[in-house]
Symmetry: C2
Subunit: 113 residues, 2 copies
Amino acid sequence: MPRTGLQEPSFLVLTALAAGPLHGYAILKDVETTSCGSVRLGVGTLYGALERLAERGLVEVASEEVVDSRLRRSYRLTEDGAGVLAAEASRRQQQSAAALARLGRRGALGWTS
Amino acid sequence: MPRTGLQEPSFLVLTALAAGPLHGYAILKDVETTSCGSVRLGVGTLYGALERLAERGLVEVASEEVVDSRLRRSYRLTEDGAGVLAAEASRRQQQSAAALARLGRRGALGWTS
DNA sequence: CGAAGATACTCCTGTTGCCGAAGTATGAAC
DNA sequence: GTTCATACTTCGGCAACAGGAGTATCTTCG
């Protein structure tokens, strides 16, 4: 998979949006929450990823509202985005299964020995 | 997950070695085979990754032999490496499951609509 | 025989997607 | 008034590739 595929931050952003439209900070929160605090994207990373994903047509702006004098821009996953996310998730699933299978066959998952 | 985690190429290299010691080109072959030809690592990528993984103590040189006047260096996964691979595989498994679950709940996996 | 391809590792330049942080601005809390 | 949280903008730096060329030997083929 070339680097033009999805890196983890982008993958997680798409996953967050798969549940419905969210604005920037809500995406950050979602990613952190669903990873039980183990993954925290920086805002630079988030907006950089959103821009690239938007350029690729995988996400689009759902709405822009002014809340408390602050612009709040929500994003939504496009159909293309959903397709790419599904494909990537499957790929990662397969790769993970392969790794775990081999580790199991190895008789050591890194903590039994 | 900080960038000091595993990117895909490194992850796949560790997976290849989880099955037993292999030399460079055999790793390339393994990665390509297990991905059904969809992932082909370049030699620059491979040896770069091997070097970094070795520096981190996740792999080590298993043997160096001269075959047909050619140096053949085999690498093996260390116990630490197996542990890191297991953890990473689990992480990716979870993330994939989460993404697929949300897509399912969304009623569209990108190809039903 | 010479050329091309396969095997095996070395080395290097260029690119990409973050990573981290600083900036701007407003409202809320202390 | 100060600090913190919310919300987006912007940017320099860098790690991990990605791609490819180089060196060298053996095998295969014309």
